[in-house]
Subunit: 156 residues, 2 copies
DNA sequence: CGGAGGTTTCCCATGCTATCCCATAATTTC
DNA sequence: GAAATTATGGGATAGCATGGGAAACCTCCG
Protein backbone atom coordinates (compact mmCIF):
# COMPACT_ATOMS: atom_id res chain seq x y z
CA UNK A 1 0.00 0.00 0.00
CA UNK A 2 1.24 3.48 -0.81
CA UNK A 3 1.48 5.51 2.39
CA UNK A 4 2.44 9.17 2.27
CA UNK A 5 3.88 10.56 5.49
CA UNK A 6 5.37 13.82 6.65
CA UNK A 7 5.78 17.22 5.04
CA UNK A 8 8.59 18.24 2.69
CA UNK A 9 9.26 21.70 1.35
CA UNK A 10 11.10 21.89 -1.97
CA UNK A 11 12.06 24.69 -4.30
CA UNK A 12 10.27 25.54 -7.50
CA UNK A 13 12.83 26.55 -10.12
CA UNK A 14 12.54 29.13 -12.84
CA UNK A 15 10.95 26.62 -15.21
CA UNK A 16 8.27 25.60 -12.72
CA UNK A 17 9.89 22.30 -11.81
CA UNK A 18 9.82 20.74 -8.33
CA UNK A 19 11.37 17.59 -6.95
CA UNK A 20 8.82 15.14 -5.60
CA UNK A 21 10.23 13.89 -2.27
CA UNK A 22 12.11 10.65 -2.75
CA UNK A 23 9.99 8.81 -0.19
CA UNK A 24 6.83 9.73 -2.10
CA UNK A 25 8.38 8.57 -5.33
CA UNK A 26 9.30 5.31 -3.67
CA UNK A 27 5.69 4.85 -2.58
CA UNK A 28 4.64 5.19 -6.22
CA UNK A 29 7.45 3.21 -7.78
CA UNK A 30 5.41 0.05 -8.26
CA UNK A 31 2.73 1.73 -10.36
CA UNK A 32 2.50 1.65 -14.12
CA UNK A 33 2.67 5.38 -14.71
CA UNK A 34 5.93 6.98 -13.49
CA UNK A 35 4.53 10.21 -12.12
CA UNK A 36 1.67 11.60 -10.11
CA UNK A 37 -1.91 12.62 -10.80
CA UNK A 38 -2.93 16.01 -9.41
CA UNK A 39 -6.15 18.01 -9.31
CA UNK A 40 -7.13 21.26 -7.62
CA UNK A 41 -8.71 20.79 -4.22
CA UNK A 42 -12.37 21.79 -4.10
CA UNK A 43 -12.06 23.54 -0.81
CA UNK A 44 -8.51 24.80 -0.57
CA UNK A 45 -5.80 26.49 -2.62
CA UNK A 46 -4.00 23.18 -2.84
CA UNK A 47 -3.52 20.20 -5.13
CA UNK A 48 -4.73 16.74 -4.23
CA UNK A 49 -2.30 14.16 -5.53
CA UNK A 50 -2.00 10.43 -5.82
CA UNK A 51 -0.78 7.71 -8.11
CA UNK A 52 -2.61 6.54 -11.20
CA UNK A 53 -3.95 3.47 -9.47
CA UNK A 54 -5.71 5.49 -6.83
CA UNK A 55 -7.27 7.59 -9.54
CA UNK A 56 -8.70 4.46 -11.04
CA UNK A 57 -10.00 3.52 -7.62
CA UNK A 58 -11.68 6.92 -7.28
CA UNK A 59 -13.27 6.34 -10.63
CA UNK A 60 -14.61 2.99 -9.48
CA UNK A 61 -16.13 4.65 -6.45
CA UNK A 62 -17.63 7.32 -8.63
CA UNK A 63 -19.18 4.69 -10.86
CA UNK A 64 -21.18 3.45 -7.93
CA UNK A 65 -23.09 6.72 -7.88
CA UNK A 66 -26.13 7.14 -10.07
CA UNK A 67 -24.87 8.31 -13.42
CA UNK A 68 -27.22 11.28 -13.74
CA UNK A 69 -27.38 12.27 -10.09
CA UNK A 70 -26.14 15.58 -8.85
CA UNK A 71 -23.52 13.96 -6.64
CA UNK A 72 -22.10 12.33 -9.71
CA UNK A 73 -21.99 15.60 -11.55
CA UNK A 74 -20.53 17.32 -8.55
CA UNK A 75 -17.56 15.02 -8.67
CA UNK A 76 -16.82 14.93 -12.35
CA UNK A 77 -14.93 18.25 -12.35
CA UNK A 78 -12.34 16.29 -10.51
CA UNK A 79 -11.50 14.57 -13.75
CA UNK A 80 -11.87 17.66 -15.88
CA UNK A 81 -9.08 19.41 -14.02
CA UNK A 82 -6.90 16.45 -13.14
CA UNK A 83 -3.53 16.21 -14.81
CA UNK A 84 -1.01 13.42 -15.01
CA UNK A 85 2.40 14.88 -14.24
CA UNK A 86 5.25 12.57 -15.27
CA UNK A 87 8.59 12.53 -13.47
CA UNK A 88 11.63 13.73 -15.36
CA UNK A 89 14.89 11.81 -15.03
CA UNK A 90 15.57 13.42 -11.65
CA UNK A 91 12.15 12.78 -10.13
CA UNK A 92 10.76 16.25 -10.70
CA UNK A 93 7.38 17.31 -12.03
CA UNK A 94 6.44 20.42 -13.96
CA UNK A 95 3.65 22.49 -12.39
CA UNK A 96 1.26 23.71 -15.11
CA UNK A 97 0.25 27.40 -15.01
CA UNK A 98 -3.28 26.52 -13.87
CA UNK A 99 -1.97 24.77 -10.81
CA UNK A 100 0.48 27.55 -10.08
CA UNK A 101 -2.45 29.90 -10.13
CA UNK A 102 -4.77 27.79 -8.01
CA UNK A 103 -2.19 27.25 -5.28
CA UNK A 104 -0.51 30.66 -5.41
CA UNK A 105 2.80 28.86 -5.52
CA UNK A 106 5.44 31.16 -6.95
CA UNK A 107 7.95 30.42 -9.66
CA UNK A 108 11.31 30.36 -7.88
CA UNK A 109 9.30 29.97 -4.67
CA UNK A 110 8.58 26.88 -2.62
CA UNK A 111 6.09 24.03 -2.59
CA UNK A 112 5.10 21.91 0.41
CA UNK A 113 4.36 18.22 -0.15
CA UNK A 114 2.03 17.11 2.60
CA UNK A 115 1.44 13.43 3.33
CA UNK A 116 -2.16 12.42 3.99
CA UNK A 117 -1.93 8.66 4.13
CA UNK A 118 -3.27 7.32 0.84
CA UNK A 119 -2.84 10.67 -0.90
CA UNK A 120 -0.82 13.84 -0.51
CA UNK A 121 -1.31 17.53 -1.15
CA UNK A 122 0.83 20.30 -2.58
CA UNK A 123 0.58 23.73 -0.91
CA UNK A 124 2.24 27.06 -0.88
CA UNK A 125 4.05 26.65 2.46
CA UNK A 126 2.72 29.69 4.29
CA UNK A 127 -0.84 28.96 3.30
CA UNK A 128 -0.42 25.45 4.48
CA UNK A 129 0.84 26.60 7.85
CA UNK A 130 -2.30 28.65 8.32
CA UNK A 131 -4.48 25.81 7.09
CA UNK A 132 -2.85 23.36 9.45
CA UNK A 133 -3.42 25.67 12.40
CA UNK A 134 -7.12 25.99 11.63
CA UNK A 135 -7.44 22.24 11.09
CA UNK A 136 -5.92 21.59 14.50
CA UNK A 137 -8.18 24.07 16.10
CA UNK A 138 -11.24 22.45 14.55
CA UNK A 139 -10.10 18.93 15.31
CA UNK A 140 -9.65 19.85 18.96
CA UNK A 141 -13.07 21.42 19.06
CA UNK A 142 -14.87 18.55 17.33
CA UNK A 143 -12.72 15.79 18.72
CA UNK A 144 -11.24 13.59 15.99
CA UNK A 145 -12.84 10.19 15.84
CA UNK A 146 -11.34 7.27 14.09
CA UNK A 147 -13.82 4.65 12.89
CA UNK A 148 -13.59 1.34 14.70
CA UNK A 149 -11.42 -1.31 13.18
CA UNK A 150 -13.21 -3.07 10.34
CA UNK A 151 -14.77 -6.01 12.09
CA UNK A 152 -14.07 -9.10 9.95
CA UNK A 153 -10.77 -10.39 11.20
CA UNK A 154 -10.15 -7.58 13.64
CA UNK A 155 -6.89 -7.32 15.56
CA UNK A 156 -6.63 -7.83 19.32
CA UNK B 1 1.59 -8.12 18.07
CA UNK B 2 4.40 -5.71 18.90
CA UNK B 3 4.64 -5.07 22.63
CA UNK B 4 6.95 -2.38 23.99
CA UNK B 5 8.02 -2.63 27.62
CA UNK B 6 10.34 -0.73 29.94
CA UNK B 7 12.39 2.43 29.51
CA UNK B 8 15.83 2.79 27.91
CA UNK B 9 18.04 5.85 27.77
CA UNK B 10 20.49 6.06 24.85
CA UNK B 11 22.91 8.68 23.58
CA UNK B 12 22.26 10.95 20.64
CA UNK B 13 25.48 11.37 18.66
CA UNK B 14 26.76 14.42 16.84
CA UNK B 15 24.81 13.49 13.71
CA UNK B 16 21.52 13.13 15.57
CA UNK B 17 21.53 9.34 15.56
CA UNK B 18 20.20 7.15 18.39
CA UNK B 19 20.13 3.42 18.86
CA UNK B 20 16.63 2.03 19.18
CA UNK B 21 16.68 -0.48 22.06
CA UNK B 22 17.24 -4.00 20.77
CA UNK B 23 14.07 -5.33 22.39
CA UNK B 24 12.01 -2.69 20.59
CA UNK B 25 13.68 -3.59 17.31
CA UNK B 26 12.91 -7.22 17.94
CA UNK B 27 9.25 -6.36 18.46
CA UNK B 28 9.22 -4.73 15.02
CA UNK B 29 11.37 -7.25 13.20
CA UNK B 30 8.48 -9.01 11.49
CA UNK B 31 7.17 -5.89 9.76
CA UNK B 32 7.85 -4.99 6.15
CA UNK B 33 9.45 -1.64 6.82
CA UNK B 34 12.65 -1.91 8.89
CA UNK B 35 12.28 1.15 11.06
CA UNK B 36 9.79 3.08 13.12
CA UNK B 37 7.12 5.67 12.43
CA UNK B 38 7.18 8.67 14.75
CA UNK B 39 5.02 11.75 15.18
CA UNK B 40 4.95 14.60 17.68
CA UNK B 41 2.62 14.03 20.59
CA UNK B 42 -0.30 16.46 20.69
CA UNK B 43 -0.07 16.96 24.41
CA UNK B 44 3.58 16.50 25.35
CA UNK B 45 7.07 17.36 24.15
CA UNK B 46 7.51 13.75 23.10
CA UNK B 47 7.31 11.53 20.04
CA UNK B 48 4.72 8.80 19.68
CA UNK B 49 6.18 5.83 17.86
CA UNK B 50 5.01 2.58 16.37
CA UNK B 51 5.68 0.27 13.45
CA UNK B 52 4.47 0.83 9.90
CA UNK B 53 1.71 -1.74 10.24
CA UNK B 54 -0.02 0.24 12.91
CA UNK B 55 0.12 3.30 10.69
CA UNK B 56 -1.39 1.35 7.82
CA UNK B 57 -4.13 0.16 10.11
CA UNK B 58 -4.94 3.75 11.02
CA UNK B 59 -4.99 4.63 7.34
CA UNK B 60 -7.37 1.78 6.55
CA UNK B 61 -9.75 3.09 9.13
CA UNK B 62 -9.42 6.60 7.80
CA UNK B 63 -10.29 5.37 4.33
CA UNK B 64 -13.69 4.35 5.58
CA UNK B 65 -14.62 7.98 5.99
CA UNK B 66 -15.80 10.03 3.03
CA UNK B 67 -12.81 11.46 1.23
CA UNK B 68 -13.63 15.16 1.49
CA UNK B 69 -15.52 15.19 4.80
CA UNK B 70 -14.54 17.17 7.86
CA UNK B 71 -14.01 14.06 9.94
CA UNK B 72 -11.53 12.91 7.35
CA UNK B 73 -9.72 16.21 7.40
CA UNK B 74 -9.61 16.27 11.17
CA UNK B 75 -7.51 13.14 11.17
CA UNK B 76 -5.04 13.94 8.42
CA UNK B 77 -2.75 16.10 10.59
CA UNK B 78 -1.55 12.84 12.02
CA UNK B 79 0.06 12.06 8.69
CA UNK B 80 1.34 15.57 8.06
CA UNK B 81 3.85 15.35 10.86
CA UNK B 82 4.55 11.65 10.97
CA UNK B 83 7.90 10.44 9.66
CA UNK B 84 9.14 7.01 8.77
CA UNK B 85 12.58 6.63 10.32
CA UNK B 86 14.46 3.65 8.90
CA UNK B 87 17.07 1.75 10.90
CA UNK B 88 20.65 1.94 9.74
CA UNK B 89 22.77 -1.20 9.74
CA UNK B 90 23.31 -0.87 13.50
CA UNK B 91 19.68 -0.37 14.46
CA UNK B 92 19.86 3.40 14.85
CA UNK B 93 17.48 6.08 13.61
CA UNK B 94 18.20 9.65 12.65
CA UNK B 95 16.16 12.26 14.53
CA UNK B 96 15.05 15.00 12.11
CA UNK B 97 15.49 18.62 13.24
CA UNK B 98 11.74 19.06 13.73
CA UNK B 99 11.64 16.24 16.23
CA UNK B 100 14.75 17.45 17.99
CA UNK B 101 13.00 20.75 18.43
CA UNK B 102 9.66 19.37 19.56
CA UNK B 103 11.20 17.13 22.20
CA UNK B 104 14.02 19.44 23.28
CA UNK B 105 16.36 16.50 22.91
CA UNK B 106 19.92 17.76 22.48
CA UNK B 107 22.45 16.71 19.88
CA UNK B 108 25.10 14.79 21.84
CA UNK B 109 22.49 14.53 24.61
CA UNK B 110 20.23 11.64 25.53
CA UNK B 111 16.89 10.19 24.51
CA UNK B 112 14.56 8.01 26.60
CA UNK B 113 12.62 5.22 24.88
CA UNK B 114 9.50 4.56 26.90
CA UNK B 115 7.43 1.44 26.34
CA UNK B 116 3.67 1.98 26.27
CA UNK B 117 2.43 -1.42 25.22
CA UNK B 118 1.40 -1.22 21.57
CA UNK B 119 3.42 1.94 21.05
CA UNK B 120 6.34 3.71 22.65
CA UNK B 121 7.44 7.28 23.19
CA UNK B 122 10.73 9.13 22.90
CA UNK B 123 11.45 11.82 25.51
CA UNK B 124 14.22 14.03 26.69
CA UNK B 125 15.02 12.10 29.90
CA UNK B 126 14.61 14.89 32.43
CA UNK B 127 11.34 15.99 30.98
CA UNK B 128 10.13 12.45 31.06
CA UNK B 129 11.06 12.13 34.73
CA UNK B 130 8.94 15.16 35.56
CA UNK B 131 6.12 13.90 33.35
CA UNK B 132 6.20 10.51 35.01
CA UNK B 133 6.05 12.05 38.46
CA UNK B 134 2.96 14.09 37.61
CA UNK B 135 1.33 11.06 35.98
CA UNK B 136 1.89 9.04 39.15
CA UNK B 137 0.54 11.79 41.30
CA UNK B 138 -2.65 11.99 39.25
CA UNK B 139 -3.09 8.23 39.08
CA UNK B 140 -2.85 8.01 42.84
CA UNK B 141 -5.41 10.74 43.23
CA UNK B 142 -7.86 9.31 40.71
CA UNK B 143 -7.11 5.64 41.15
CA UNK B 144 -6.19 3.83 37.92
CA UNK B 145 -8.80 1.55 36.39
CA UNK B 146 -8.23 -1.08 33.74
CA UNK B 147 -11.21 -2.00 31.56
CA UNK B 148 -12.52 -5.49 32.18
CA UNK B 149 -11.49 -8.29 29.85
CA UNK B 150 -13.96 -8.87 27.02
CA UNK B 151 -16.46 -11.59 27.83
CA UNK B 152 -15.15 -15.03 26.81
CA UNK B 153 -17.43 -15.42 23.84
CA UNK B 154 -17.66 -11.70 23.23
CA UNK B 155 -19.10 -10.69 19.90
CA UNK B 156 -18.16 -7.32 18.44
C1' DC C 1 7.00 24.03 -47.79
C1' DG C 2 10.54 25.72 -44.92
C1' DG C 3 12.23 27.94 -41.18
C1' DA C 4 12.25 31.01 -36.79
C1' DG C 5 10.73 31.41 -32.17
C1' DG C 6 9.36 29.52 -28.29
C1' DT C 7 8.60 25.62 -25.40
C1' DT C 8 9.35 21.17 -23.47
C1' DT C 9 12.16 17.21 -22.57
C1' DC C 10 16.42 15.20 -21.70
C1' DC C 11 21.04 15.18 -19.91
C1' DC C 12 24.93 16.49 -17.17
C1' DA C 13 27.15 18.99 -13.14
C1' DT C 14 27.23 20.25 -8.19
C1' DG C 15 26.90 20.66 -3.21
C1' DC C 16 24.94 18.61 0.57
C1' DT C 17 23.40 15.15 3.61
C1' DA C 18 21.91 10.68 4.76
C1' DT C 19 23.31 6.12 4.42
C1' DC C 20 26.56 2.50 4.43
C1' DC C 21 30.47 0.30 6.32
C1' DC C 22 33.96 -0.68 9.51
C1' DA C 23 36.03 -0.27 14.15
C1' DT C 24 35.78 -0.34 19.19
C1' DA C 25 34.02 -0.78 23.77
C1' DA C 26 30.72 -2.45 26.93
C1' DT C 27 27.51 -5.92 28.14
C1' DT C 28 25.33 -10.26 28.14
C1' DT C 29 25.05 -15.16 27.14
C1' DC C 30 26.64 -19.67 27.00
C1' DG D 1 36.11 -17.05 30.46
C1' DA D 2 35.10 -17.02 25.40
C1' DA D 3 31.82 -15.66 22.00
C1' DA D 4 27.99 -13.14 20.60
C1' DT D 5 25.14 -9.10 20.96
C1' DT D 6 24.61 -4.28 21.75
C1' DA D 7 25.66 0.63 21.96
C1' DT D 8 28.61 4.04 20.11
C1' DG D 9 31.95 6.63 17.04
C1' DG D 10 33.80 8.16 12.66
C1' DG D 11 35.11 8.11 7.69
C1' DA D 12 33.75 6.91 2.96
C1' DT D 13 30.04 6.65 -0.38
C1' DA D 14 25.85 6.98 -2.77
C1' DG D 15 21.55 9.31 -3.26
C1' DC D 16 18.97 13.49 -3.37
C1' DA D 17 17.57 18.25 -4.36
C1' DT D 18 18.87 21.76 -7.39
C1' DG D 19 20.69 24.44 -11.38
C1' DG D 20 21.80 25.11 -16.10
C1' DG D 21 22.33 24.01 -20.91
C1' DA D 22 21.57 21.19 -25.23
C1' DA D 23 18.59 18.69 -28.05
C1' DA D 24 13.99 17.62 -29.72
C1' DC D 25 9.48 19.33 -30.53
C1' DC D 26 5.69 22.04 -31.90
C1' DT D 27 3.45 26.13 -33.79
C1' DC D 28 2.88 29.86 -36.40
C1' DC D 29 4.09 32.63 -40.11
C1' DG D 30 6.46 33.85 -44.14
Amino acid sequence: MALFLSTFVNKVDRKGRVSVPATFRAALAAQRFPGIVAFPSFKFPALDCCGIERMEEINRRLERLDQFSEEYENLTPLFHDAQALPFDGEGRILLPPKFIQHTAIAIEGQAAFVGQGGMFQIWEPERFARHQASLRERALRQGPKLPAAPAPEGGR
